[in-house]
Amino acid sequence: MFEDIALFLEVSLSAGSVLLLAALGEIVAERSGILNLGVEGMMSTGALAAFYISLMTQNPYLGIIVGGLSGLLLSLAHAFTSVTLKANQILSGLGLAILGIGLSGFFGKPVIGMIAPSLDIIAIPLLSDIPFVGVILFRQDILTYFSLISALVLGYIIYYTKLGLVLRTVGENPEAADYMGINVDLVRYIAIMIGGLFAGLAGAQLSLVHLPTWIENMTAGRGWIALALVIFSLWNPMLAPFASTFFGALSILPYYLQIFGFRVGTGLLATIPYLGTVLSMTLISMSRFRKYLGAPAALARPYIRGEKELYK
């Protein structure tokens, strides 16, 4: 029984870790006050770039790096429109999502169904022998380890360092940050780029670990679920692994229930992560709830010096 539960959690963790990477990046961006709805597009591009490089060079680690960088590159488009041009972030983000999916689908056509070298599961010696915890935490792939470590590191940076204070100030009150001499636009640019990098890495994990191949639309809405995860983890990177594992568990639950003979609508169960996404997207678009959940006060609000009143 214990073994079953450990195995279930292990698979949940790995199923959720793609979401975790993307959500962590988005948390950083949203903490700076930038809502980037283009996660799906950046993930899709990252997945293709990582797969393509891994296929061409036979080196999946190079694939990870290029996958991350391609997400970062694409995120610059959102940074330019939302920070430099002060445009509506929701529209710009949606545009980015469509752009990323379209581009990756187009350029990925020649490599559909090919096999690239994929990343292996790395069992950490000694630690992986610990009963229960070892099975869950220490038999994963390199990007899952990276995502868990990132959650801790980002959590520490955001809550316990000056850098984190700067980031949070820009997201809560860009006017105050500006008075203090912080370059609001620069901070937001960097936060968006970190978001893009992580979304690209999430895509790389998808095409190098999760389903080691490239198919069109392989992100299958994960970018949108990642946006919901940001809200479920209350913009706290350290809560994100729990939220992502929960979503991962939801996605594999239908198959477990079938084996153990529960007669439930498996199709219905599979919709839960998406229902959660719709619900949380509804909540975040209502400003009253946003404040209640602890969202950055300036989220999705462009900062234009001296034009503060326009947005109130």
Partner: protein, 373 residues
């Protein structure tokens, strides 16, 4: 509130994203490719409509191999195909193939059934062949392959190789075709090993690698050491290789996805059906009928058995295959009871075409629900 400038710039960037992304999508699917242009005037033109990309390594890939096979063997033939056609768009692309001058049109997805029948009425001078359906008319025929035969042979191997006596099956939808495959696989396994149980997990999709992966990992977690599947990806073979268990490929030889895991698999040779239909069409002796071809006609096969299949099992499989090719052996021969104890096929009788096409029961020893709607 959103001010005007912000809205305008955002709108422009959204429009740009839509335009570029949309253009990329539009040029992406479905694409059309003219394959050959023979110089002779006396030729026959055939067109295919595919539901997936030709690179899917599964269903559509197998059909495209069939198209190439026919084209290679018939020098009067010119072919054309349209890939990634959604089922709702089928009639539009059938029209396009007719405009391109196709004399014979193959529609290769169950969901194209009604569109194909309608097209048959619109173009009474053309020949249509619909794959996997049951509706026919004067100029619309149907075709399918007896995939349960290789599944049965793979079941023999699975029953002989399993150590845990637990087999797993990742299945797309609870429809007679898939149920027939599961039963055939289980029938073979039970023949070699009466203690075998087959665990079935439905993923409710033909093409969802992630669902297939989760289902396969779940099954492996329950101690299952041999996997089979009916869905259109190679994911199960990959997952089996990663976890050190065995698997069978589906539709094409998938051994490259799991050199150790891939014991054997089911192979479709659509080409022999295409060749027959096209020769008949060319010589004017085609008439509307249902092709259901198997080992006897060479329309199905099994993938090469790998080194983990014991040699005596290999010999048995080859023997049964030869018997099936002569119609002297058929897996679904009575007495066959379902898992509720009802006699489905009487002693000594073979299951009929209609029985097999309406099969919605599981054999004893198959674990998992069989949803009926």
């Amino acid at each position: 509130m959103v001010n005007r400038r912000e809205f305008l710039v955002g709108g422009l960037s959204l429009a740009a994203g839509l335009a570029i992304g949309g253009a990329a999508v539009a040029s992406l699917k479905p694409t059309e490719e003219v394959v050959t242009t023979p110089q002779e005037k006396e030729y026959l033109k055939a067109g295919w409509i595919y539901v997936g990309p030709v690179g899917d390594k599964g269903w559509t890939y197998a059909h495209d191999l069939g198209r190439k096979y026919a084209e290679e063997r018939l020098d009067f033939l010119e072919t054309i195909y349209i890939e990634s056609v959604q089922e709702k768009d089928a009639d539009r692309y059938i029209d396009e193939l007719v405009e391109e001058g196709c004399d014979v049109i193959f529609t290769t997805s169950y969901g194209y059934m009604d569109a194909t029948i309608e097209a048959g009425k619109r173009y009474p001078d053309r020949i249509f062949m619909h794959c996997s359906g049951f509706k026919r008319s004067e100029n619309v025929g149907t075709y399918f392959i007896r995939m349960y035969q290789p599944y049965y042979l793979n079941g023999l191997i699975a029953g002989a190789v399993t150590k845990s006596n637990k087999l797993g099956y990742v299945a797309a939808f609870p429809i007679p075709e898939v149920v027939r495959h599961i039963n055939a696989f289980h029938l073979g396994a039970r023949e070699m090993n009466p203690d075998v149980e087959t665990y079935v997990v439905w993923i409710y999709s033909w093409f969802d690698p992630d669902a297939a992966r989760s289902a396969a990992e779940t099954l492996i977690g329950q101690g299952i050491d041999v996997l089979a599947f009916t869905e259109d990806t190679s994911t199960v073979v990959e997952v089996a290789e990663e976890n050190g268990v065995f698997s069978f490929g589906h539709y094409t030889d998938m051994s490259m996805y799991g050199p150790n895991a891939h014991l054997s698999g089911q192979i479709a040779n659509w080409g022999v059906i295409y060749e027959d239909v096209l020769i008949r069409a060319y010589t004017g002796v085609w008439y509307s009928k249902d092709y259901w071809w198997g080992f006897a006609e060479g329309a199905v096969d099994i993938a090469p058995m790998n080194k983990y299949v014991p040699s005596d099992v290999k010999a048995l499989v080859e023997e049964r295959k030869a018997l099936m090719a002569e119609w002297t052996f058929e897996p679904f021969t009575g007495p066959i009871y379902d898992r509720d104890g009802n006699l489905q096929v009487p002693d000594g009788e073979r299951a009929s075409h209609d029985h097999l096409w309406n099969m919605m029961y599981f054999l004893p020893g198959i674990v998992g629900e069989l949803p009926t709607t």
